[in-house]
Structure formats: C-alpha cells, structure tokens
Symmetry: C2
Subunit: 151 residues, 2 copies
DNA sequence: ACGATTGTGTTGTATATACAACATAGGAGC
DNA sequence: GCTCCTATGTTGTATATACAACACAATCGT
C-alpha cells in the first residue's frame, strides 16, 4: 500500500533519532535538578553559569558562552537576572568593549550552600540512568567538548 | 585558607555534574537538527511530536505528554502552533473531555519530505559523538524510558 | 443521587533558548 | 589616519519549557 514510505520513515525516526533521546534526557534531568535546587531559589541553568564563572573568572561573557555552546544573547539575559541577585558582578574591561564577569558575594554563599542539594539531584540522576548510563553521558559530553575546541 | 570549601564545591560540580553535560548535549544536538530541518520550516521539537502522533495516533495530548515526559501545557501550545500548519488535526473525543490528535495531510507530506534532512543531522550528530557516544545516548534514554513506566 | 477526588486541557507568568538586526569597539591593511 | 572587517554585547521576536491556578468532566464512595 502507498503508506509504506510514511510508515517506514516514522519507524526509522522513532527508533533511532538522537535528538528525541537527548531532548527527553534534558527535560527529565533538568526537572530533577530544578526540583532539588528549588529551596535555594536557583535553577540549574543559572548554577551552571555561576560555576563556570567561579572556576574560570574573571572571564568575559563571550568566553563563557563559547565554553557552554550557548548563544551570546541567551547568556546576556541570564547574566542580567543573576546580577539582580548579586550572584554575578559585571565590570567593564580596562580598555574597551569587553565586560568582565566575577561571582558576587551572594553567589559565593549560594555555591557554598548548594552542595547537598546538588548532590541529591546528582545521585537521583545516577540512580535513574544506572552506572553505565551515567558514564555514557560523560563520554558523550566529552566528545562534544572535543569538537568545540576544548575545555 | 577559607576558600577551600568553595573551591572544592566548584571543582566537584564542574567535573561531575550530569545536568551540565546533558544540557550541553541538548543545546548542541538541537542546534544541529534545527539547522538541518530549517529548509522545511519545522523545528526538531515539532517533528518529534509529529512522529509520536503518526506512530501512535489517534492519541490524546495527555498520553503524548506522558510519553515524552513533557508538561501538558508545553504540549498544548506546541499543538496549537502545529495545528495552524495543518500538521496536526485535533478533534473532540466521543464523550467528554479528551481530545484526539491525528496527523493532518500537511503533516503527512512533511514527514515524507523530512527523511533526508533528518538523516543528515543524525549522521552529523553520530560523527560528533562517535559510535560509542551515540550508543551511550541510546542506553541512557532507554534507562529513562524504563523509569517512566514504559514505551 | 450527591459530594469529593481525580484527570484533562487552557491560560498567566517566568525563564531558557536561538536567530536576526543592530551598535560599537578594535584591528588590519593601505 | 582612514576604511573595512571582525568581535562583542544588546534588543526584538519566536519557540520550548515548567509551574500555578483555573475550568470542567468523569469517576468513586457512600
């Protein structure tokens, strides 16, 4: 019957598509972390940015967005929100255009408080994925970082 | 020095966090697919929904959102947009509250046209992740589906 | 039959994300 | 020094996502 090509396309995409799978993982895991972090009033997306700045800062927004493979405009608005909580501090680079991000004092306190909440979500995710599944994610992410041109 | 607990928390989260990694993968892979599908005017998120409905429909929105672990309100607005393109058809269930989703004729045509564009993105993703990385994603997604209570 | 609970979908609000268009700063080449 | 090109960041717009509150139907318990 003439439906065959439709059916086989549907079957192929449904059973193989990597985007479907990664997006499912993203929704599921983001929910677990946001849930665990809710008492702190921070979302995992914001904690991620904070950790990058804490680890590498002072650092420019452009550099952060490259490392996270995140659009500069996305980061720009994230930074705005985090600034209002004093999680991040933004200053003008010596000469010209570049800005400089550093963690603010509230950001420092937030990170210090966050470990047990983060750990709970991390363990819950590990249990869900299983040990092999969790190591799988690390492997796949390492592959992406390799393509991006590095840590 | 008193910075030690901050530094060690930052190091721990930066080097281990599964959410950071999955979210990076999500941004990267979603971009690859959206890019490849752009000529068709569809986003991978929408194609995903379309494939589920094509494979399992007629099906209710609630059932779709459960299978994708997606909030019902998210799906509700996705369906609205897809309806305006005639990618999806929505009808009222016989008796009462439940709606019924089916693919529309434009949706059928879209799926038929989409295979080569999808394939290109799939291959590009496989190259980026490597064979092991790609299998890793399948493994992790299978673990999530197992927890959700099934295919 | 009736009232309470549950399931289903919509709407308001906030954040995350990307693309396109823009403004502007710094450099490169001449 | 000027012009052009590139890098950097912001703003407008659209979509994806979730949570909270709601409306309403269906069902369950009595």
């Amino acid at each position: 019957m003439k439906n065959d090509s439709l059916t086989s396309t549907v079957e192929t995409i449904a059973s193989e598509c990597l985007a479907v799978r990664i997006r499912l993982l993203n929704r599921t895991v983001t929910n677990i972390f946001d849930d665990a972090l809710r008492p702190l009033g921070v979302k995992v997306s914001q904690l991620n940015v904070l950790i990058v700045v804490a680890k590498l800062g002072p650092i420019s927004p452009g550099e952060v967005s490259r490392r996270l493979n995140m659009e500069k405009s996305t980061l720009s608005r994230n930074v705005d929100r985090m600034r209002t909580h004093d999680w991040l501090k933004v200053s003008e680079g010596d000469s010209g255009r570049k800005q400089i991000l550093e963690i603010g004092s509230a950001g420092r306190k937030l990170i210090e408080k966050s470990l047990p909440f983060w750990k709970k979500a991390q363990v819950q995710t590990e249990v869900m994925l299983g040990e092999r599944g969790a190591r799988s994610i690390h492997r796949a992410a390492n592959a992406v970082w390799a393509q991006l041109g590095r840590t």
